[in-house]
């Protein structure tokens, strides 16, 4: 699931496609983080804060006027679950994906024709950077 989201984001062309892929990426992050929020894990705090930031980012993008009304690509059912992965692997994958989200949204935040698109991208990119920081940092 994370791999697909990563690939879609890499290949997205045009504002609508980038917004669509970034939205799906945030949704994917929320859904893969929730199952690994284990208090016994050293990543617990990071995952709790990262999930909230992912929801913030997704909701910010939902207000972008150029976001398509429906997902451009439906994730096949067999790819949806991403369970059984270790927290460390999830953290690494989400950190990488969020880094790419921030990277792809940055140009849109600067140059999208619509001010609301720019604002949504700025906010979502900040959330993505926060997630990356939370899940990449070490002690």
């Amino acid at each position: 699931m994370m791999d697909t989201a990563y690939q879609r984001l890499q290949e997205a062309d045009g504002l609508a496609a980038v917004l669509d892929a970034a939205y799906a990426a945030f949704e994917g992050m929320v859904s893969v983080i929730h199952p690994v929020q284990d208090p016994a894990s050293g990543l617990f705090t990071a995952f709790v804060m990262a999930a909230a930031a992912a929801a913030d980012g997704r909701n910010a993008l939902a207000l972008a006027p150029s976001l398509p009304g429906h997902p451009l690509l439906t994730v096949p059912a067999e790819q949806q679950p991403w369970s059984g992965e270790s927290p460390e692997r999830v953290a690494k994958a989400v950190a990488g994906l969020s880094s790419l989200v921030a990277e792809r949204l940055a140009p849109a935040a600067a140059s999208a024709p619509d001010a609301s698109d720019r604002e949504a991208c700025r906010h979502a990119a900040r959330s993505a950077r926060d997630i990356c920081g939370l899940l990449s940092a070490g002690p």
């Binding site: 929020q37 050293g42 804060m49 999930a51 929801a55 460390e88 953290a91 002690p139």
Partner: protein, 579 residues
């Protein structure tokens, strides 16, 4: 501990001045200063009368025919009020000369009485920082301590203190009256003697009530602990603090978070601070804080292991378990809130910042890393138990920090519930529509959350609050056992709950905008809104409608806190958000 003035500071000062007056009144045995002493005694009695005016025998909203029979303390209140009224009349009747303001008395007794009156006045002012009145004169609260100020335990303790002061003052004043032989001062002498007698009557009445239903040490501690309602400075940590400074930081941040929760829990539906971003942030940081509380309570249980403290250890471990359940509750709530939004976005309310600070301060205590932050990432080791409380004398303070945090988490969970209810009732709680199936073609990015969704959120808040309250209660038991300074929190919660439960129409928090305009709130409940749509503007009718709306709201909340499932396809409106 936090350096916030408390009522006890002023009461202690008044006691000290009265003690000095008693010790030094021999100098006035000539009766030379009978006029001055009468004048000063009047100052004390006036401020005592004002304290008694503040204590209502029954809640203001209770109709007279519903008044319960007077208890011993109710009788003592009325007798005390009468006694002070008589004493004032006698002094006024016979006092023909008053000292100009700011002119110090020559008599030591009069000077000490003046100082006691001043301390009592300042103490009353402190209590009033928690209270306000709405345009109809009904009592409202400015802080979470308002309910405590008006609670029976605090009022009984206050009466007992006033009675003690009255008894101490009466004897030297009567001595001065008896010693004076001057014909010029005969009236003043008579007034002073009579007033002293009424002070004795006051004291006797309260002593009788105390014999029937004694004021406990906990009641008195609660009264003395009431702090001034003033913002505490935000704790700023640079990582170099010793662990003892972190106790204070955690306590201050908990007090700030508790107050912020109290304020945000009573916001009107249109408030820009009611945002999903804030709700999410509070839920996420409170999950983390609960986790820290569990770590801290387990660590303290380890710290005291070996000493003969089985009961204490049990309380701490049960508190840790409850904190763990509260964490799980917060986590479920945070996950649910990750699926919603509000119409106002990208705004964090002050309460969210306070909640983050509490997570930071408790984290600095819980982890060995002195620079730990919420964004520090993975892999941080808990602070060893010996480092959490290096000296045995530190254990009560470390426990107080965890106890305050648990208590603040309880307030935050209830505040979340109120905010969710308020936003939902105004149709402001939204869910993203984009992820819905194509068959549901909603032309907007968000739609109102369905009642079942709101109901689930409310229930989750209730369960989380109950788990946090249990953690706080267990920490409170441990605090009481080792006399930790936070033990007063348990009494404060119980007192506030008693006032809330006893009132048929629970007093609402003060709302500056309401007081300023005298208008009814925009987010009226269903019945009040219906009356307004019918063009009804009669304030009495609107007030009655608001009362019914509040009762409905209370019923829904109580139902939401139990395990009743809504009927399939049910629909209900969420009424006006107040408590």
């Amino acid at each position: 501990m936090t350096a916030r003035p408390a009522f006890g500071d002023f009461l202690t000062a008044a006691r000290s001045h009265v003690g000095a007056a008693v010790a030094g009144h021999q100098a006035d045995r000539s009766g030379e200063h009978v006029q001055e002493v009468s004048d000063s005694l009047q100052h004390v009695i006036i401020v005592m009368s004002r304290y008694l005016q503040d204590i209502a025998p029954v809640p203001a909203s209770m109709p007279p025919h519903d008044s319960p029979p007077l208890t011993a303390w109710g009788h003592a209140r009325l007798t005390a009020r009468d006694a002070l009224g008589h004493a004032t009349r006698h002094l006024r009747q016979h006092t023909w000369r008053t000292r100009a303001p700011r002119v110090a008395a020559r008599s030591e007794l009069a000077r000490q009485l003046d100082a006691a009156a001043l301390a009592l006045t300042a103490g009353r002012d402190l209590l009033h920082t928690h209270l306000a009145s709405d345009p109809r004169g009904a009592r409202q609260f400015r802080s979470e301590w308002g309910l405590v100020v008006c609670s029976p335990p605090a009022e009984r303790a206050l009466l007992a203190e006033l009675a003690w002061l009255a008894r101490q003052i009466a004897a030297p004043c009567a001595d001065v009256a008896l010693a004076n032989r001057s014909a010029d001062a005969a009236d003043a002498r008579r007034g002073l003697r009579a007033a002293s007698g009424w002070l004795q009557a006051l004291s006797g009445s309260v002593q009788a009530a105390h014999r029937a239903y004694p004021v406990s040490a906990a009641d008195r501690d609660l009264l003395l602990a009431i702090p001034v309602n003033a913002p505490l400075p935000r704790p700023l940590l640079d990582g170099s603090e010793p662990v003892t400074a972190l106790y204070d930081a955690a306590i201050v941040s908990a007090e700030r978070a508790r107050h912020a929760a109290w304020v945000t829990g009573s916001q009107p539906a249109w408030s820009p601070h009611l945002t999903a971003d804030s709700l999410r942030h509070v839920a996420a940081t409170s999950t983390v804080t609960s986790h820290h509380c569990e770590i801290l309570l387990r660590s303290l249980a380890d710290r005291i292991a070996g000493a003969r403290t089985t009961g204490l250890s049990t309380s701490l471990l049960q508190g840790a378990d409850a904190a763990g359940r509260a964490r799980d509750g917060w986590l479920r709530l945070a996950r649910a809130l990750n699926q919603v939004d509000t119409d106002t976005m990208r705004h964090l309310a002050p309460a969210a910042g306070e909640s983050g600070d509490l997570a930071l301060c408790t984290g600095r205590l819980a982890y060995a890393d002195p620079a730990w932050t919420l964004s520090s990432g993975p892999g941080h080791q808990p602070r060893p138990p010996q480092d959490l409380a290096p000296h045995p004398g530190d254990i009560p303070l470390a426990l107080a920090a965890a106890h305050h945090a648990c208590d603040a988490l309880t307030s935050q969970a209830y505040a979340q519930r109120e905010q969710i209810r308020t936003t939902a009732s105004a149709g402001r709680l939204l869910v993203p529509t984009r992820s819905l199936p194509d068959t549901m073609d909603v032309p907007r990015p968000f739609a109102s959350a369905l009642p079942d969704h709101v109901y689930a959120l409310l229930r989750q808040c209730q369960h989380t609050a109950e788990a946090a309250a249990e953690a706080s209660a267990q920490a409170g038991e441990a605090a009481a056992a080792i006399e930790a300074p936070s033990r007063v929190l348990t009494a404060a919660r119980a007192a506030a709950r008693a006032v809330h439960d006893a009132s048929p129409n629970p007093q609402r928090p003060a709302e500056p905008e309401l007081a300023a305009t005298g208008q009814f709130r925009e987010d009226a409940g269903a019945l009040q809104a219906a009356l307004r749509r019918l063009g009804v503007s009669n304030p009495n009718l609107l007030t009655r409608a608001a009362d019914i709306d509040r009762a409905s709201e209370q019923l829904i909340i109580e139902a939401a806190g139990r395990d009743h499932q809504p009927a399939p396809g049910h629909e209900y409106e969420f009424p006006e958000a107040e408590h």
